[in-house]
Symmetry: C2
Subunit: 265 residues, 2 copies
């Protein structure tokens, strides 16, 4: 389990302190933190907790949403927070179409500009920005960056990318694009893809093994691209959230061992 | 309105005879037919109806689903029906992952094989097969062909493709792929993309103008690729289906004139 990370949204009813204790209790060596949870506990206090617990912070979620008012200040604050937490990267979800706009090309160009504007500040704080392409079904309302290839094309080379199995598994070009991403993979996230999708498509993320994704080719491609960082389990799912978080972590470890950690056949 | 086509599923409560009468009444010169509706009226009788009405059959929906038992016979029957109807093409929706399988690469390779197997029969009957890439959210359960580029790569050159705005609007590479598709665009379908998606994501297809798609770049790209065929309005939407079909056709014509027909700025 030495590369397993719990994205804390998987156990969303836990506070940041409870999630950190949960990781320690279950022998999970890393955690992906969310800004709102961190803010609720206090930034410095959270940094001290993870340090004292001996955990790595595999990511901080999240910056981005580059079309909202105050985006630059907010993203700089997120970078500052990632620096204090010692996070391996700051995940960026770029946002959808601006309200009332249908100019998808313009929105995408704006993402490239924002990344170029933000990258020097991130570099100055030693924080790796990680652009996350989201599944195309979220293109209008959540992220106009829809494929790994597009993320690599849009971002300056010092900006990394997130490979999230849920978002990229369908892409006929994904293995090629993961090879292209060698040296730029800042985060590898896993969960499964539910069929049929639930009424709220944001909650279509399932426990590994409960959906349709074959993880092995993705894991092998990420390995071959030289990624040696943490593998973060991030599940947005009403049933998982309703379950006892300790039981969820038992299942996460079982499924991770069987489906993710096993490595190439 | 000389290139407008009504895909009959847009007015699904109408029989094939009612839909043909509706097209005539509203001055719509073409219709996209569905096999089940045609079968209910009778194949030869439907062919006579559309001929007598002076309508073009812009497409027959649909063949495909290459992993189901009896797929080859069923697709040959669909080709025969398209020939009798004089349809401009037979739309192919290839199907998702076989039951219980997660082998996406294998399912995609199977599509290429099936198309190669089917193409000579279609050629012998003078029917143009039209492979339809579906939005990636349907990859597992409806069509493992998820992008226009992938469709062009998988299909033999004599097989055409469908460009459906709903399925491709998000694709950062779509304008390039439409250029690549010059000479192979067998059908251009339009409807809008609803945000948020409804609980049944199959019904996220909306009246043009009610969603987030900017049609002009797609229309311009399809024009530039030399496509001069019909432009088919295909809407799967509970509210549209609940409305009076004659009122739906009035709106279709208004929106088509304003958003699709207007052409490049």
């Amino acid at each position: 389990m030495n590369r397993l990370s719990l994205n804390q949204w998987t156990t969303r009813r836990w506070t940041v302190a409870e999630a950190i204790e949960g990781c320690v209790r279950h022998g999970i060596p890393a955690i992906g933190l969310w800004r709102a949870h961190v803010a609720a506990h206090g930034l410095e206090a959270t940094a001290a907790l993870v340090r004292d617990a001996g955990l790595r912070v595999s990511s901080l979620c999240r910056g981005g949403f580059f079309t909202e008012d105050g985006w630059l200040e907010d993203n700089r604050r997120a970078i500052d927070e990632a620096a204090v937490l010692g996070a391996a990267c700051l995940v960026l979800v770029v946002g959808g179409l601006p309200r009332g706009s249908k100019d998808l090309g313009g929105a995408r160009a704006r993402v490239g500009e924002a990344l170029h504007e933000l990258a020097p500040y991130a570099a100055s704080r030693g924080v790796w920005l990680a652009l996350e392409p989201l599944h195309p079904m979220y293109c209008a309302d959540r992220a106009v960056v829809s494929t790994l290839g597009q993320a690599l094309d849009l971002a300056p080379p010092e900006v990394g990318v997130v490979v999230d199995a849920f978002h990229v598994w369908w892409d006929p070009d994904v293995e090629h694009q993961i090879r292209r991403a060698a040296g730029r993979i800042a985060s590898f996230q896993v969960c499964d893809y539910l069929v049929p999708l639930p009424a709220d498509v944001l909650l279509g993320r399932a426990m590994m093994g409960d959906g349709v994704i074959e993880f092995e080719p993705l894991r092998a491609a990420v390995d071959a691209a030289g990624y040696t960082g943490d593998i973060e389990v991030e599940i947005f799912n009403a049933e998982v959230w309703a379950a006892d978080p300790d039981e969820v972590l038992v299942t996460v470890k079982e499924r991770y061992a069987a489906l993710i950690q096993a490595g190439p056949r």
